[in-house]
Amino acid sequence: MEILSSPQQPDLLTNHEVMTLLTSNLAPPKSKKKPVSKKNQPNTKSPPPSAFQTSALTYLTSLPPPLSPLSLLRTLSSPKYSLEKTEIIQLVNLLPDNLPLLNVVLPEVEERFEEGVGEEILEVVKIARGKEK
């Protein structure tokens, strides 16, 4: 086994993307074919959904995802905010609704941004979270 990608610069995924992947993996296959006789047929069935992946999906569905994660990602990625990739991922995953939590996700908000930008980001996240309700 050899790891080809660099762990220092990984391709990050949001919780919503992983949830979508696991949901498609664990969904039962749709087959309209008639059942074929099992005699002399190779065993091509995929392994049953593992309890591990089911528990991962349970955890991800317990956290409220944004209704439109792509639009939220585009908004937060705009040059206006100059956010790091890791900060954007955390904002999409956590959907912070208070300033103290935002200050943990975006360190030194008051020094990095102009006055009011922190509240603006909170409002953007609130809209993304509120649309779902």
């Binding site: 086994m1 050899e2 790891i3 080809l4 990608s5 762990p7 990984p10 391709d11 990050l12 995924l13 949001t14 919780n15 993307e17 992983v18 992947l21 696991l22 993996n25 190779p42 065993n43 091509t44 995929s46 392994p47 593992s50 591990f52 992946q53 528990s55 991962a56 349970t58 955890y59 317990s62 956290l63 890791t86 991922i89 955390q90 995953n93 956590l94 912070p96 609704d97 208070n98 300033l99 103290p100 939590l101 935002l102 200050n103 943990v104 996700v105």
Partner: protein, 261 residues
Amino acid sequence: MFFLSTIADTLRINPSIFGTGDTSSIISAINAKYPQKVIMDLGLVISLYDILRVGSSLIHPADGGAHFEVVFRVVVFKPFCGEVVKGRVRNCTREGIEVSLEFFEKIRIPYYNIFSPNRFVEGKKRSEGKWVWDDHENDGDVVSDESDREELAITKGDLISFSVDSVQFTGKNYSVKGVHTLEISSTNDDKIKMPTRKRSQSFDKGMTWEEGGGLKKAEDSTFTTTCEMEILGSMKEDGLGKNDWWEAEEEEEGEEEEVET
């Protein structure tokens, strides 16, 4: 928290599933081997993402299976240092708080990384203990009886936010003389390689110690050495802990502003 990692590996496909003409057998082989496995310095593999390339197959003497060289991507779980994660409290002890993410449970917040000032309150049962954040300066005091006042407490089952302090990997090898640690790696510290003595090749090469005793030949040398991952968290900054604490504080500030106006 999750990222993609590209891996190249040689997978063995059983002769019983030859002739399918698609990649389902390779997908099955990957799904049987990788999910729920911890790879040293990389993280916990969650699921296969996609297959990038399937090389030509090789058949070894005295082995009817075909060996394919496959390059694929997997979804890996490993939060980065400083990342804020939400989890549910599994247990509160005097040593700290144990947190669970349903699929991963080796997360702990040591007592020295919990908000201060704090105190640990023992419950009637060992699992009913709780950590309390209060204004009084009595760090580390153990109080057996709690007073009837509204307190900021964390108990078993609470949903909390915490920041990741470090991620630790421990490599273990099961050999004839038992389990010994090969390597400890942490995202904050340098790697610590444990000293190993030279052994007879017949003992260690391709052999593993079976649980319950006895030697067995390792089916796959990749996971002869097991690896465990542990996450250490911190809850010292404002905004972490239970979400209710900070929402209530903001509502109070809003009411104060209304009164002033």
